[in-house]
């Protein structure tokens, strides 16, 4: 069977080509792309009435390359060949499509439910056009946990309601003594059907929804959505606008990193560091408010638009960076805390690569992945910060160094900023952009890739000729990173699980959608 060169296909957007394949050719094509160094960015299914269409988006950095493989399946009996043997993330995307669209992956090694819990009735696929309102819940479907048996093995069920105010997730720990044999994380308690909510909204008027995909990642999801819409509508933002957006993104990185560095110390019982990290976070939130008018940076970025109220003071940011560095130094200087962090829950480089991990989780396992370099919207002086050890300490130190690097990047962005607001309407932006002009009546697609503080966020949208969103597929880095937690917990004891979980600090809402 012949395999196309990677970048063959119709140009459909920025750095992006698309190829339509017969379903049977998909595994070979995907395998050749993986060999070329591509990763699977997302898989999105679409209901086109009589047929279902599945788009596989493959991404590679340096230079920015985006390849879409598209297959069409009959809606009555949709089946496709699994890519599970080539890519672990693909196997999970297939389970998601099975649950939401009823597309059956053939020969899937783990054909269980993923998104829909047991009480969702079989045969009802919420993302299909004719799905209608949710039917009443039933108990008909089984969704059991794998039971670990043996002498002295017992199960600890934790959540979805926890003792602290955190997001809902159920963890089933199979334990002997205090050692964890197996952890199963069951998520999707906070599945809101947010992708469905995008359908039918005006393409330039859905930013409020994108900002609420995961509250602590408002700016990055808002930006990824905006980039996707701009890609689809052919809006080209000037470079200074991209720099302002990068500034907002870095502010989001700062306040989240600061809060989590304190929270990690707190989970080791060192609440002194947490109290100070919370103080620093509060000051950062006030800077956010002064910069964008919103403490969580909402409203500054929207399709074709970026608007700041003021620029942050770089000296104040440098002060806070020095302050946080001192708190972190106190934390790591405490031998007990250092002992708790060191060697706890190691995620090896190979494991991180096989699972497709992103963001600081991947970088703390020695994988240099950063969308600011791989898929840049504007050239920025960024270098990925990595650590080869893959333990809690590595994730702590990577984020600590990223905080300092972000502060330096912000100082650079602030010093080069001039105008505080940019607006580009679809009509004027489309001048010179060939893609949108060539097919004014067709369905247009767009992809937005952003390095949020957790890692690479990918949005892919489709817009109908009237400018309404037909489909929005969202992938938060948490989707890729969640499976890494059970893997890293091998040889870890139960009381270290909360520390591990906090060191990954993945989004439940961003994963569950």
């Amino acid at each position: 069977m012949t395999v196309d060169p990677p970048m063959n296909g119709t140009p459909v957007g920025a750095h992006r080509v698309a190829r339509t394949l017969a379903p049977v050719r998909l595994p070979a094509q995907a395998a050749s792309l993986f060999e070329e160094g591509f990763r699977l960015g997302l898989v999105a299914a679409h209901d086109d009435g009589d047929t279902l269409r599945v788009v596989y988006l493959f991404l590679a950095g340096a230079p920015d390359r985006r390849v879409e493989l598209e297959i069409t399946l009959p809606a009555a009996d949709p089946q496709l060949h699994t890519l599970a043997s080539l890519s672990f993330p693909a196997s999970r995307f297939e389970r998601e499509m099975h649950d939401l669209y009823g597309i059956v992956p053939i020969d899937h090694p783990l054909p269980h439910r993923l998104v829909r819990h047991a009480h969702w009735p079989a045969g009802w696929y919420p993302m299909r056009n004719e799905a209608g309102p949710p039917p009443p819940f039933t108990d008909t479907e089984a969704y059991p946990f794998l039971e670990v048996t043996g002498d002295g093995v017992y199960e600890i069920p934790v959540g979805p309601v926890h003792a602290g105010v955190i997001e809902p997730g159920h963890f089933r720990l199979s334990v002997v003594g205090e050692s964890i044999l197996k952890l199963k994380a069951r998520l999707w308690f906070t599945h809101r059907g947010i992708e469905k909510l995008f359908e039918g909204l005006d393409a330039t008027g859905a930013i409020h929804l994108a900002e609420r995909i995961s509250g602590d990642t408002s700016a990055a999801h808002g930006l990824a959505h905006s980039l996707a819409v701009e890609d689809a509508l052919g809006i080209v933002m000037p470079e200074p606008a991209h720099r302002l957006r990068a500034l907002v993104l870095e502010l989001e990185r700062l306040y989240n990193h600061a809060a989590d560095l304190g929270a990690l110390a707190n989970d080791a019982g060192f609440s002194l560091a947490n109290a100070h990290a919370q103080r620093i976070r509060e000051r950062l939130l006030r800077i956010n408010n002064a910069t964008t008018g919103h403490r969580l940076l909402r409203g500054a970025i929207s399709p074709g638009n970026v608007e700041l109220l003021s620029l942050p003071d770089p000296l104040q940011l440098a002060d806070l960076a020095a302050d946080l560095a001192e708190v972190a130094q106190l934390t790591l200087g405490n031998t007990v805390v250092r002992d708790r962090f060191t060697g706890t829950s190691v995620l090896t480089r190979d494991q991180a690569r096989d699972l497709g991990c992103l963001g600081y989780v991947a970088r703390a396992s020695g994988l240099a992945t950063d969308a600011r370099l791989d898929h840049p919207t504007v050239e920025l002086p960024v270098s990925p910060i990595t650590n080869p050890h893959g333990d809690v300490l590595a994730r702590f130190t990577v984020r600590l160094e990223e905080y300092a690097a972000s502060t330096r990047l912000l100082a650079h962005l602030i010093s080069t900023a001039d105008q505080l607001s940019f607006q580009v309407s679809p009509a004027e932006g489309a001048e010179g952009a060939t893609v949108a002009e060539a097919q004014p009546t067709a369905v247009r697609s767009g992809v937005g890739i952003v390095e949020g503080w957790r890692g690479t966020i990918v949005h892919r949208i489709e817009v109908d000729p009237d400018g309404r969103l037909m489909r929005a597929k969202i992938v938060d880095p948490s989707w890729f990173n969640w499976p890494a937690i059970p893997v890293s917990l091998a040889d870890t004891i139960v009381p270290d699980f909360p520390l591990t979980n906090k060191s990954f600090n993945l989004s439940y809402a961003g994963n569950d959608l």
Binding site: E155, A268, G269, S271, L272, A275, V336, I493, P495, P498
Partner: protein, 320 residues
């Protein structure tokens, strides 16, 4: 035995009852202030107790009399300890029972009652907390015994009042190696016994890391209030006992005057407040040990206690 000695013993019990939540609140306040937080105020544990006591009693289905009685056993045994240990005055009406073996036994009775209640709930957390608590208790109780035993060598008696009286009469013994080693060993095991950092974190919300809190996770309302009150009282009594074993000054004699009882009350209050403040201040700078390091710490304290006993025998000067 004078009526005042009986009154002093009663005052000890009432003082521990009323003062324990204030000790807990004071320690939280010290931590909060040192960490740069405002804190809930010294009276917050009392307000929490009032709230809990007004709540409806809820009992998890499937639990037995073990679960229902455990809070009363813990509180009762702690109050009994409060009545017999010399805090305000030496001449307790229960003096003949004020034996260090009796006190350690009563402490262990409370611990066992709570661990059984944790298992009785049948939840994973209850069992997990009980398993961890009993692991720690198994190392803590012998250390307390040994440490107080080392202190009893110079006085020639295991009676707590006799030990305190001997120390008060011969304060130079305090700087003996045996006494110092015993103090360090006792301080470590009291931190472990009362579930403080670095062994347990009383303020954590992470259910998987809990020890004491995991056992009592199923308690609510008045029973929870009783358990929390009792754990505050254990802390207070143990701090008071350590204070008087090593700093017996101010304690009233076995046949006290009214003024002596008053002085004794003030003295023990000051000592407990200072010790609690120091403990809370120290906690600000330490973190929680990895669970499997806790036995190392406790084994170390046991060794210190053992050395204390040895040192008391070989280096101590008999005084009687």
């Amino acid at each position: 035995m004078s009526a005042l000695a009986v009154a002093a013993a009663a005052l000890q019990v009432v003082g521990v009852l009323a003062g324990a939540p204030l000790v807990v609140g004071g320690m939280r306040q010290v931590r909060a202030r040192l960490e740069g937080r405002a804190g809930g105020g010294i009276g917050q544990p009392w307000r929490d107790l009032r709230k809990q006591l007004r709540k409806q009693q809820i009992t998890p289905s499937g639990t037995t009399v073990v679960f229902a009685l455990a809070p009363a056993v813990v509180a009762g045994s702690t109050l009994l300890i409060a009545a017999i240990v010399p805090l305000i005055a030496l001449g307790s009406p229960l003096d003949s029972a004020a034996d260090l073996f009796g006190v350690v036994g009563l402490l262990f009775l409370g611990t066992v009652a709570l661990t059984l209640a944790g298992i009785d709930t049948g939840t994973a957390f209850g069992g997990m907390g009980s398993s961890r608590e009993i692991t720690i208790a198994a190392l803590v109780e012998p250390t307390i015994l040994l440490a107080v035993f080392a202190l009893s060598v110079p006085g020639g008696s295991a009676n707590l009042a006799a030990i305190v009286a001997a120390t008060a009469n011969h304060p130079e013994q305090l700087v003996s190696p045996g006494s110092l080693l015993a103090f360090v060993a006792l301080a470590i095991v009291i931190i472990a016994e009362t579930g403080r950092l670095p062994v347990d974190n009383p303020s954590t919300h992470l259910e998987l890391t809990m020890i004491h809190e995991a056992m009592i996770l199923e308690y609510a309302g008045p029973k929870l209030a009783l358990v929390e009150w009792a754990s505050g009282m254990r802390l207070t009594v143990l701090l008071g006992l350590v204070a008087n074993l090593f700093m017996p000054w101010g304690i009233a004699g076995s046949d006290p005057s009214f003024l002596a009882v008053l002085i004794g009350l003030v003295a023990i209050t000051v000592k407990v407040v200072v010790l609690a403040g120091l403990l809370a201040a120290g906690e600000v700078f330490i973190a929680k040990l990895r669970l499997f390091r806790v036995p190392e710490l406790l084994a170390g304290s046991f060794l210190l206690a053992l050395l204390a006993v040895t040192a008391s025998y070989f280096l101590g000067t008999p005084t009687s």
